[in-house]
Assembly symmetry: C2
Homo-oligomer: 248 residues x 2
C-alpha cells in the first residue's frame, strides 16, 4: 500500500504548522507553541469518499470539523421529505457550528468528492479557548462570518433573479478559490446541477438554461463541471443589477 514516505507525509499533513491552509483556518492567529496545544486536540479522520456522510442530521453534536481537502454539502430534511441544501464547504472552512446550540447536528453533511477533514472535539476546543484568547476570537469570528454569509444568502434568495443568483454563485466560488490560492477564472464544480439548483432555490432546468445562456453571451465557458470565467466584470454586473441592455 502506502510507502513509508507517503505515510509519513500523510501524517505530516495533519500538522497545522505545515498545513497550507493554516493562514485561513482556525489556528490562524496562534503562536507556534499554542498551535501545538491546538494540534493536540485534533483527531485525524479517514478520508471520506464521494457521497459518504461526515455526520447525519440528528446525530449528537460532538465536534466541529475543518475541511482539509475536497468539499462537502450540508442538507436539512424536513418532515415532508424534501430537503434543502444550506451550504457548501471548501478547504479551511468550519463545519458543524450550527450544532452547538441543540447538541445535535441540524443537517447532514456529505462529501461531494474524496474529502479529508480535521475533527475538533468541541468540549476540548471550548476549554482550550479559555486559555487562548486568539483561538476564542477566531472561533467567534468564524461563527460571525457564517452569520454574515447567511444574511447575504437570504438576500440572494429573496431579492435576486435566477440570473443574478447564478452569477453570484459563480463569483462566490471564484473568490473562495482565489483566497485559497487557486485560479479564480478556471475551476471545477464538485457539485451536481441539482445541488446548485437546490442551494439557489431554482429548478435544475433553470440552472442548466442560464449556464447555457451565459455561455452564449461569452461570459463563461462551461463544459460539464469545468468552469471558465471569460468576463469577470460582466459577471459581476450580472450578479448585482439586472442587465439593462439586451445582448450588450
Amino acid at each position: 500500500m502506502a510507502s513509508p514516505v507517503s505515510r509519513r507525509s500523510l501524517l505530516h499533513e495533519t500538522r497545522c504548522q505545515t498545513c497550507s491552509l493554516s493562514s485561513l483556518c482556525l489556528p490562524l492567529a496562534l503562536e507556534l507553541e499554542d498551535m501545538d496545544h491546538f494540534e493536540a486536540i485534533i483527531r485525524r479522520r479517514a478520508p471520506l469518499k464521494k457521497g459518504e456522510p461526515l455526520f447525519r442530521q440528528g446525530d449528537t453534536f460532538t465536534s466541529v470539523y475543518a475541511v482539509r481537502s475536497g468539499s462537502l454539502k450540508q442538507t436539512t430534511t424536513e418532515g415532508n421529505g424534501s430537503d434543502q441544501l444550506t451550504n457548501f464547504y471548501l478547504p479551511s472552512e468550519l463545519v458543524g457550528l450550527d450544532g452547538i446550540d441543540e447538541e445535535r447536528y441540524p443537517g447532514s453533511v456529505v462529501a461531494l468528492e474524496t474529502t479529508t477533514v480535521c475533527e475538533i472535539p468541541f468540549d476540548r476546543l471550548d476549554s482550550l479557548s479559555e486559555e487562548l484568547p486568539e483561538l476564542r476570537t477566531q472561533l467567534y469570528r468564524s461563527m460571525s462570518k457564517e452569520l454574515r454569509d447567511d444574511r447575504r444568502m437570504m438576500r440572494l434568495l429573496s431579492r435576486k433573479t435566477a440570473d443574478q443568483r447564478l452569477a453570484s454563485f459563480l463569483l462566490t466560488l471564484s473568490e473562495r478559490f482565489r483566497r485559497r490560492g487557486y485560479s479564480p477564472y478556471s475551476f471545477r464544480l464538485s457539485m451536481a446541477r441539482a445541488d446548485i439548483g437546490n442551494y439557489l432555490g431554482l429548478a435544475v432546468e433553470t440552472v442548466s438554461r442560464i449556464l447555457s445562456r451565459f455561455q452564449g453571451q461569452e461570459v463563461v465557458a462551461v463544459s460539464g463541471r469545468e468552469v471558465n470565467i471569460l468576463d469577470m466584470q460582466r459577471l459581476t454586473r450580472l450578479a448585482e443589477e439586472e442587465e439593462l441592455g439586451a445582448t450588450r
Copy 2:
C-alpha cells in the same frame, strides 16, 4: 419629570437578577455572584423611539445588545439601493453578533417601537467569557442558534410558497411570544406589512392578500396589526405542506 420612585424602578430594571428575561437571556446559566460580574460590564442606554437606529450599517462594531423591551429590525443595503430585512429582534434576543468578524455592523438595526436594550461591550464580554465558562457556552449557543434559524429561513425563502411563508412567519412569532410568557394566540405585529414582505421575500400586496385569505378561511383574525390565531393546527398544516383540498 420622573418621580423618584419611577426612576428607582427604572434603575432596578437594569439589573439582570430582577429582569424578567433572565431565564432567556445571555446570563441564563450564571450563579448570582457571576451575574454581578456580568452586570458590571453592561451599559444602560436611553430608550429608542420608533424608527430610531441602534446602529447603522458600516458603524464600527463595539457592542452586542440584548433587547429588554420592544422590538427591532435589521436591514442591509446593497450598492444599488434596495435593502433586505434580515431579522426581527424581540426581548432577550442578542443583536449585533454578525459584526464581530469584520469589526463593523453589516446592517442597520432600527427600533420598530419604543425599545430598550442593554449594551454589552464586546471586548469586555469576551474577556469575561474567559473566566465564566457558562457565559462562554451561552454565547456560543446564541450564535449557533442564530445560524440554525438562518438555515430555516433559507429553506423558507427557497422552497416555500407565499402561503407557507406567511403561516410560518405567524407561527414563529407566536412561539417566540409564548416563550416570553405572552399569549401565543393573540399578539400585536410591531412591523409594517412592507417589513413582513421584505423579510419573507414577497411583495406587500401578496402579504396583504394572503392575510385576507387566511382571515376568510377563519385560520386567523387580523385587524390592522392585531393578530388572533383561531386555528393553530390548521396554520401549522398550512406552514408545512401545501394545503391539499381547496377550502377544507
